[in-house]
């Protein structure tokens, strides 16, 4: 491993005011964006960036540049700084360390004063933290790995419109993961055919059905048609089972006016939940969260698009940061990965995202990619959603990894069942209930899970068919986004 460069030591800030503010170009570390002795305040936001400086760029100078470009700096000295309490506005890089086992990359810790961000605005915070700095030439790449948001700033957000506790009370469903499925095929079904899939899935035993992220209002199905048929299916299934049921109606559209119109119609029809895609953007998300709060509506968030900036380790924003911002901005459900399904996700890293959604207080946990303690200050909790390439045969793994507060979504694993959609739903519900019951009885489900499923399959033919069809399917690929950390021996070791 490359020798660590000289990255500790005293601040190199120029303290002589005349020299500091004479016209010209200074190094960022000379301008006050690097302070190795800085002790972050309780009210500071702290960001951990992974940076890859260009050849020959000193990592400390690179870290100082990140602090500068994400707060007040411009490329040259400006005298107008002296009209302000400029030191407050300068973010401060205060620690740089080589990324373990990854030559050329460094972790840089940067602190931001509370005054830098408008209260209750993720758009404002992100414009600073992931704005210009990510295109800055002296860096080959940069990634925002994690963020500590101070309680003082957390309290300026309303968070999830409903939260997972109240969601369960409204649904009257406790003590087990919720079950869902995405209506398939994603595209091409008419409203009438679409509602059929919803009805069969819900009557068979699922709690929720779901529009896919790219179902909006295309030529094959106008959104009003979809809403009308889906709500008929939801209510019919609710009567057939005696349970509260729902189907996430995707209100994602071209403009806010269109989204409000669709949300109002969903409300008129008695839907308990609407859905938006992450691609609508932070401002639209916070607006829809407000609407949901006013209208007793759950808000489902599909993280469409996140893979473009969360997956590669060297550049972008980690999903754990996106999850933190989404909990503040306000959504009730959030797709957070399956670990065992078809989509990217190292199990520990994925558990880290779940913790961010559900914790009252998130503890630093390096193997799970969590670099900071995060006090959520009683902010409501987000229900994580595991969706994508999972099936009943993995029920023990899913329950063991994620616990009760999660929505398990088996799309293909319900609709692709050889005996039909209702049978697919029955298989999933029986597998789930059998596994929860066994876990509560003290059975080691991680190891004995397959036996529990086989036993349940003896009284449930649909489960037997599901296990025969998919029992051995798994997606074992190496994860791209894993946590990089050095195991530090502690006193107790």
């Amino acid at each position: 491993m490359a020798t660590a460069p000289e990255i500790v030591g005293n601040s190199t800030q120029i303290t002589d005011k005349k020299k500091r503010y004479s016209a010209g170009v200074l190094k960022y570390r000379q301008m006050g964006y690097w302070d190795a002795d800085y002790v972050p305040k309780e009210t500071d936001t702290i960001c951990l960036f992974r940076i890859t400086p260009q050849e020959g760029v000193d990592p400390v100078e690179a870290a100082a540049a990140v602090a500068g470009e994400s707060s007040t700096a411009t490329w040259t000295v400006v005298w107008t700084d002296r009209l302000t309490a400029c030191d407050s506005y300068r973010a401060k890089a205060f620690k740089v360390e080589p990324v373990p086992g990854t030559p050329g990359q460094y972790f840089a810790w940067v602190a931001y004063d509370l005054i830098l961000f408008e209260e209750g605005s993720i758009a404002n915070m992100t414009a600073s933290l992931i704005g210009n700095v990510f295109s800055f030439k002296p860096l080959k790449a940069a990634r925002l790995e994690d963020i500590r948001i101070p309680v003082a700033y957390v309290k300026t957000f309303k968070g999830p419109p409903t939260g997972l506790v109240v969601e369960r009370e409204r649904l009257d469903k406790f003590g087990r993961p919720l079950l869902g499925a995405t209506t398939k095929p994603k595209l091409g079904l008419s409203g009438r055919n679409y509602g059929r899939v919803v009805y069969e899935g819900l009557k068979g035993g699922l709690d929720f059905m779901k529009d896919d992220e790219n179902i909006n209002s295309q030529p094959f199905m106008h959104w009003r048609d979809r809403f009308l048929y889906v709500m008929d299916a939801v209510n019919k299934a609710s009567a057939a089972t005696g349970e509260v049921k729902g189907s996430y109606l995707n209100i994602t559209a071209a403009t806010m006016e269109d989204m409000y119109e669709r949300a109002e119609f969903a409300k008129d029809l008695g839907s308990i939940i609407v859905m938006v895609d992450l691609v609508i953007g932070w401002t639209a998300i916070q607006s829809m969260a407000n609407w949901c709060r006013k209208n007793d509506m759950l808000m489902h968030m599909h993280r469409a698009g996140h893979g473009t900036y969360t997956r590669q380790k060297n550049h972008g924003v980690s999903f754990r940061v996106i999850a933190k911002w989404l909990r503040l901005a306000g959504c009730d459900h959030l797709h957070t990965g399956t670990a065992v399904g078809k989509l990217e996700g190292d199990p520990l890293t994925v558990q880290g995202y779940y913790n961010v959604c559900r914790d009252s207080y998130t503890k630093q946990d390096l193997p799970r990619g969590l670099f900071f303690d995060q006090d959520w200050a009683d902010l409501k909790k987000v229900m994580p959603v595991a969706s994508g390439g999972i099936h009943a045969g993995q029920m023990h793994q899913l329950l063991d990894l994620f616990g009760d507060d999660v929505i398990l979504q088996f799309g293909g694993g319900t609709i692709g069942h050889p005996a039909g959609i209702q049978a697919g739903a029955v298989a999933n519900r029986v597998a789930l209930e059998a596994m929860v019951k066994a876990r509560n009885e003290g059975v080691d489900i991680a190891n004995e899970g397959p036996d529990i499923l086989q036993k349940a399959a003896q009284f449930c033919t649909p489960l037997k068919q599901a296990l025969d069809t998919w029992g051995d399917i798994s997606f074992n690929y190496t994860s791209t986004d894993t946590s990089d950390y050095a195991v530090t021996p502690t006193a107790s070791n």
Partner: protein, 146 residues
């Protein structure tokens, strides 16, 4: 007779499994007690999906540590209301949870006729839906007696 795949009301944690035996119910109660939950017994003859408040068969058992105590209450409730729905409910008072965390049905009427869906056509193609329990037509206490 309800037409869903189980042929019965599917509320609660375990409605898709064969009815839990008393020994199995005891194991679930013990799991909850170990986690510090308080158990309660509730019953109703109106299991409408949005009937939140079933009747309380006594108070939640906050200071109880032996599952046998909950089973005693359950048996007493069953003998008083043999044709009612009865559920066991566990409360968690942890800050930030403070809600029900387990709930499952432990007694049902012999016949479960279920619910009908009433559609009221309104503006355009918009529909107002009402879920109506077939037994709820009759007065409380006189339902599920065939």
């Amino acid at each position: 007779m309800m037409t869903n795949p189980t042929g019965r009301l599917t509320q609660g944690q375990f409605s898709f499994l064969p009815d839990l035996t008393d020994a199995e119910i005891t194991l679930q109660i013990e799991y909850g007690l170990k986690k510090g939950y308080a158990w309660a017994v509730e019953y109703t003859d109106d299991p409408h999906p949005r009937n939140t408040y079933w009747e309380m068969f006594g108070m939640p058992m906050f200071d109880l540590s032996d599952a046998a105590g909950v089973m005693m209450e359950l048996k007493s409730c069953r003998s008083t209301f043999p044709q009612h729905y009865i559920r066991l409910v566990a409360f968690d008072s942890t800050r930030g949870v403070e809600t029900i965390v387990m709930s499952f049905i432990v007694n049902r009427p012999a016949v479960e006729p279920g619910f009908g869906l009433v559609r009221q056509e309104t503006n355009g193609r918009t529909m107002r839906y009402t879920i109506r329990g077939y037994e709820a037509e009759r007065a409380e206490g006189e339902r599920y007696r065939r």
